[in-house]
Point group: C2
């Protein structure tokens, strides 16, 4: 049961957004820019960063919905994002994304955990400063979104099909002009 | 030295904001609403929540600047915010703020750490659902801001006077229409 009187029947972050539309607006905009805005990283790659961080924060709503969004940016194929969450070092992804996921995993633990060697590895694999910046900020922002969702104990659907539908809408329609 | 080529001579989060103005905009707006927008919690109280979370995340730039902002919302008096960072249970603050700081400290550890008993205590001390919501979100957002600042290894001034001047501007002018 949610810790406060959130609008009933709305799942996860959607209920927090409905409770406080003033703060929802910049949070939605930030997600849209980071995950779907113009970028040399694909939306699938960026959603995988979000899914990994959410998984490590044990936020079921966020990890399941962003896993589904990543899959729907890859024709509904869950295999790559599932491999990333399980062990990104052995997942079938580019060496660059692997290095960026390492940075994201450090940020999940704390900003000071990122080392010069982590950044050097990403750069050696072809990552730009902008890609490194956005990886840090995606990981940092999901450190916020995850805590918001679970800190309020929002409603967490159990049904995988609910997240699949949610992720499909997130991948197609994004975060600003709709209900998620 | 910063991990990426941030604009030189700008401290902390200001350098990240200058590097990527697109993401700076919603982040500045979120800080403004949460810390200075209309609220039944004073800005001093909200800045103390920000300072406590930043202190526990060991983010020197954020904790020093928001400590100064809290002080400048209290006529430049640092004693209360310093006591809060040292041990909020014995600090000279209201029982309600003490209960909200407990919730913020849980969120800093992770969203799932907030218990029904924590929320019940806050409510018993007179906290509203909106105040509990905003406490969770301030703590969650500083889990982002702190990781952004340190995950990029931004420039961190050592001089206390720099933070005092910064906090004074933050308290007076806010987060949207200026350089911090």
């Amino acid at each position: 049961m949610p810790h406060i009187a959130l609008p009933p029947d709305l799942p996860g972050i959607v209920s927090g957004f409905a409770f406080r539309p003033e703060t929802a607006k910049p949070m939605r905009e930030l997600a849209e820019i980071l995950l779907r805005g113009p970028n040399t990283l694909t939306s699938a790659e960026r959603e995988m960063i979000a899914a990994l961080v959410s998984s490590r924060n044990d936020c079921h709503f966020c990890q399941a919905s962003h896993t589904a969004a990543a899959a729907h940016h890859q024709h509904g194929d869950y295999s790559v994002v599932n491999a990333v969450k399980h062990d990104y070092e052995s997942a079938p992804i580019s060496p660059k994304l692997r290095a960026l996921l390492t940075i994201a995993a450090r940020v999940q633990e704390g900003g000071r955990h990122v080392t010069a060697a982590d950044v050097e590895r990403a750069r050696a694999e072809g990552a730009t400063d902008r890609e490194i910046h956005d990886t840090v900020l995606i990981a940092a922002s999901f450190s916020m979104f995850n805590r918001y969702v679970d800190g309020l104990a929002t409603l967490t659907p159990k049904d995988d099909a609910a997240y699949d539908a949610m992720g499909q809408r997130m991948a197609r329609e994004g975060y600003v002009n709709r209900n998620l």
